[in-house]
Symmetry: C2
Subunit: 469 residues, 2 copies
C-alpha cells in the first residue's frame, strides 16, 4: 500500500487508487468490465436494500426477464434502436450453430418487458402493472471508468404501465422523489432534479427526469433517471387493453433506473486523502472496535470489554472488532480509515479503569465516552456524521454552482463550476455545447435568466450546464 | 382459468399448467428462456434469503464478476471446455465491430473467478478466500422446461481457495450439508446426498457431491452440487502463493451452486390438483385472511376484525387480507389455493359474535380457533404444515426407492421407481445406462449389494439409478 494521491490536485488518480486500495473493485480481463469485490458489493447491497424496500413499499414487484433479446425487438421503436445500436454486444452463435436471428445482450429491458406486458395486459383490471428488475446490462463502453462507466453495470430498472397519462406522470415523479431521498438521506449527497433536454433524454421517451450530483471536480454525475415513455413503445409492441367501457386502449408506460454508479458517487463526494468515507446509513460496517494492549493480562481484560461493547451494540449498529494479531493499533486505524468506517472505538487498559472508551469519527473528531453511555452516544454520533457529510457536500455544491449569461462566460467557467443559464429550448443551441465537451444536465423550473445563452432569444427555462462523467 | 390436469395421471401437463395458472413463470420470446413473474420471483427471493444467510454465516462474501468471459479462458482447463463447448452462447460483435476474440456468456464462472483469484492470492495470509456470486448463467438448452432446464437460469455459485486439500474437502461437505438443510428444513423436500460417478461429475472437478430429490414421477432432480476442484484450475490459471515457509504452492479450490430449479422442485413435490402448495418457511405469503359478509354493516365489522388480526400477527407471520370487491369468498379460496398459500383464515359475522375464526390449512384441515388464541395457534399450524409436507414427501420417496440387482430388473422398474444397486465403478458399466435414458444419480456409502448390476464384478459402492430431469 502506498500513500494515496492528493484528492484536490490529482482527483482522477486519487479516485482510481482509493477504490483499488480499499478493495472495492478490480479491473476485469474483459475490456471495460469491472469485478465488484466483496467490500464494494457490501456497499452496493446496502444501497440495494434501501432502494428495494422503497420499490416494494410503493407497490412494485420484482421479476426476472431474459438477458438475451432478439435484435428485431430493439428495432421496433425507431429512436430506441438509434440510441442503443452503437453500444450493443451481439450473440451470433449458440449451441455450436449460427443463430437464425442474432440476440443482443440487454442494454436495457424496455423491449423484452413490453413484449411480455402486451401478453399480460388485457383489461383495465390488469392496470397499473408495476414491475422492477435487479440485473446487469451491457453497453459497449469506449472510455470505461470503474462504477462510473463500465461495459457491464449492475442496476435496477422499474417498468410500469398505467391507464392514464396523469397516473404515468405521477409514477415518474414519485420514483424520482424516492431516488432523491435515497441520495440525500442515505448517501448524504445533495442532488438536483429536473427534466432532461431533448438532446439528453432516453431514446424512445417523451420526457426524461434526472437526479444529478456534482463531483468535487465540478463534473456532473447523472445518478439515475425516470422516464415518461408515454405510448410509443405500447404502439410498437401492440400493447392494448379493454377499458371499463370495453374500448381498446394503449397503456401509458414509464421506466426508471439507478446503478452501481451510486457507489462511485459516494467515493468521489465523501472520500479524502486517507481513503473512503462511507455515509453511516449505508456503511456495511458502521463501527470498528480497536483493542489496545501490551501484556497478556491486559489483552484478556481489553478483549473481554471489547466483546461486551460489541454485544451491547450489535442490535443497534453494524459493529465489528479488529482482533488481528499481526497488526499494530496504528495499522488497524490506517486499514479502517482507508475503508471509510464511520466510527472507531479505541479501548485500552487505562480506559478500562476509567470505565470509558475513545470514540473517533472518520472526519477526525475524538471524544472520550463513558462505557455506560455508548448505547445512547454511538447512534447519535452516526447520525451527526451523516448530517456533517451532507452539509459538507452541500457547501461544495453551493460554491460550484454559479450563474452565467453567455456561451463564452460558460466555457471559461466550467473547469471549476456548474453553470445555471438561460436556454431557448432549441436543439441548435444545445448542440453547440458538444464542441466544448459540455452538456445540459437538466432543466430547472425556476427562471433566473431572461435570454438564451447562445441565440439570445427569450429564455424558456433555465438550464444547468456542466462537464459530466 | 380452466381446471388443472390431474397430477397423478398427467404429471407433465399438470406441471406446465400449474406454474402458468399460478403465474410463477412465462415463456420468453427467446428459445429456452423463461420470464420469472413476480410470484415466482417472490418464492425465489425467499429461498435466496435463507441461502444467502447460510453463505454469509459460514464466512463467505458476495462479489460480482463479469457475465462475458474470453473464449480462451474456458479452453485453459481441458475437461472444462470439453464439457461446456456444446452449450455456449458466443458474442462475436460488440460496439459495431467484430471482436478480436469472441466472448462467451458465462455458463459458470470458474474460469473468470480463478483468473481474479490468481491476482488476489499471493500469500498464505490471503487464504482461505471464500466468495459467492448471485447471477444468471446461460447454457444453450435443447429440451427446455421452466425452472428445471432453461437456457438462462438464476443461481448462486460459491468459489473458494484453501491452503490444504483437507480444508477444501471440508468446505465442499460443509456447503453440501447446508444445501441439505435448505432442502429439508425449508423446502420440506427430503434429499439424498452423495458423490457423483465419473460420468456425471463437473467438467474439471476431481469430485462432485450432489443433493438429489425424487419427483412424484420417480425422476431424479439434481438440486445442486458441490465440487472439489482440487488443483487443476489453479495450474491452468497459474494461481500460486507463498506458504508460511516461503515456498510457492497451488491452492486447493472448490465450487458449489444451486439454482431456480429449486422452485420447480417445490412445485412438483408438494403441489396437488388444486394448485401449488408452498412450504410455510419459504412462502412469501403464509396466511391469507378472507373476510365474509353480506350487508354493509357486516362488512364494516368483519373488515375491522380482519385488520386487527392482521395487525396482531404481522410481526410473526407473512399475512395479507384479500379485500377484492369483485370476487366472492369462493373465488378467493380458489385463487389462494392455486397459489399454495399455507393457511387461510375465514372470518364472518357469526365468527365475530363467537369471537372465533376458521383456520383452513392447504392440506384441507379446517379448525375453529378462538381469536384470542391466534398468536399461539397460527405459528404452530404453520410449523405443523411444514412437517406434514415433509412427512408426505418422505413416504413417497421411501415407496419409490427399491433395491435391484441386474440391469434388466433395473430397466423394468425405473418407470415408477428409483433403484439402489451394486456398481463396480467402471465407466463401461455406467455408459450402458445411457441407452435406456438412465443415469447414476449418486453413489452411496452404504453397501447393500455384493456385485455390479452389469458386469457382476465386486461392488465398490452402491449406486442410485433413475431417470432424471
Amino acid at each position: 500500500m502506498s500513500k494515496l494521491p492528493n484528492k484536490k490536485t490529482q482527483f482522477s488518480e486519487w479516485y482510481l487508487e482509493v477504490i483499488n486500495q480499499a478493495e472495492l473493485v478490480d479491473q476485469a480481463p474483459v475490456r471495460g468490465c469491472m469485478v465488484v469485490r466483496p467490500y464494494g458489493n457490501d456497499i452496493w447491497e446496502m444501497i440495494k436494500g434501501v432502494l428495494d424496500k422503497k420499490i416494494k413499499d410503493t407497490g412494485h414487484r420484482n421479476a426476472l426477464f431474459p438477458l438475451l433479446i432478439p435484435e428485431s425487438f430493439l428495432k421496433k421503436e425507431a429512436a430506441h434502436i438509434e440510441g442503443f445500436a452503437p453500444e450493443l454486444a451481439v450473440v451470433t452463435h449458440a449451441g455450436g450453430k449460427l443463430l437464425a436471428e442474432p440476440l443482443v445482450v440487454r442494454p436495457t429491458s424496455e423491449t423484452i418487458i413490453h413484449y411480455m406486458f402486451a401478453r399480460w395486459i388485457k383489461s383495465w383490471r390488469d392496470l397499473p402493472l408495476k414491475i422492477n428488475q435487479w440485473a446487469s446490462v451491457v453497453r459497449w463502453e469506449m472510455r470505461p471508468r470503474p462504477f462510473l462507466r463500465t461495459t457491464e453495470f449492475f442496476w435496477q430498472e422499474g417498468h410500469t404501465a398505467h391507464a392514464s397519462r396523469e397516473e404515468a406522470e405521477q409514477e415518474v415523479l414519485l420514483m424520482l422523489s424516492h431516488y432523491k431521498d435515497l441520495a440525500e438521506n442515505y448517501l448524504a449527497i445533495p442532488v438536483i432534479t429536473g427534466q432532461k433536454s431533448e438532446g439528453e433524454k432516453f431514446p424512445g421517451a417523451e420526457k426524461t427526469y434526472t437526479f444529478e450530483a456534482f463531483m468535487p471536480d465540478a463534473k456532473a454525475l447523472q445518478m439515475g433517471t425516470s422516464h415518461l415513455l408515454s405510448q410509443s413503445f405500447a404502439h410498437a409492441f401492440e400493447m392494448t387493453y379493454q377499458d371499463v367501457q370495453g374500448k381498446l386502449q394503449y397503456p401509458w408506460l414509464t421506466s426508471w433506473g439507478s446503478t452501481t454508479r451510486l457507489v462511485g458517487a459516494v467515493v468521489m463526494v465523501h472520500g479524502d486523502d486517507k481513503g473512503l468515507i462511507i455515509p453511516p446509513r449505508i456503511a456495511p460496517v458502521q463501527v470498528v472496535i480497536v483493542p489496545i494492549y501490551k501484556t497478556d493480562e491486559e489483552k484478556t481484560a481489553v478483549l473481554f470489554q471489547a466483546q461486551s461493547i460489541k454485544d451491547r451494540l450489535a442490535n443497534t449498529v453494524r459493529i465489528t472488532i479488529d482482533t488481528d494479531e499481526h497488526k499494530t493499533p496504528g495499522n488497524k486505524f490506517y486499514h479502517w480509515e482507508l475503508r471509510g468506517i464511520p466510527l472507531r472505538i479505541e479501548i485500552g487498559p487505562r480506559d478500562l479503569s476509567n470505565k470509558q472508551a475513545v470514540c473517533a469519527d472518520r472526519l477526525g473528531t475524538k471524544e472520550t465516552v463513558l462505557l455506560s453511555d455508548l448505547e445512547t452516544v454511538i447512534p447519535q454520533k452516526l447520525d451527526a456524521l451523516h448530517h456533517a457529510l451532507y452539509a459538507r457536500a452541500e457547501v461544495v455544491l453551493n460554491t460550484q454552482w454559479i450563474q452565467k449569461d453567455t456561451l463564452q462566460e460558460i466555457i471559461d467557467a466550467t473547469e471549476s463550476a456548474i453553470i445555471q443559464t438561460g436556454f431557448c429550448g432549441s436543439k441548435e443551441c444545445e448542440t453547440v455545447l458538444k464542441e466544448y465537451k459540455l452538456s445540459i444536465r437538466c432543466l430547472l423550473e425556476q427562471k433566473k435568466h431572461s435570454v438564451c445563452f447562445k441565440c439570445t432569444l427569450p429564455n424558456t427555462c433555465d438550464a444547468v450546464i456542466a462537464r459530466s462523467y
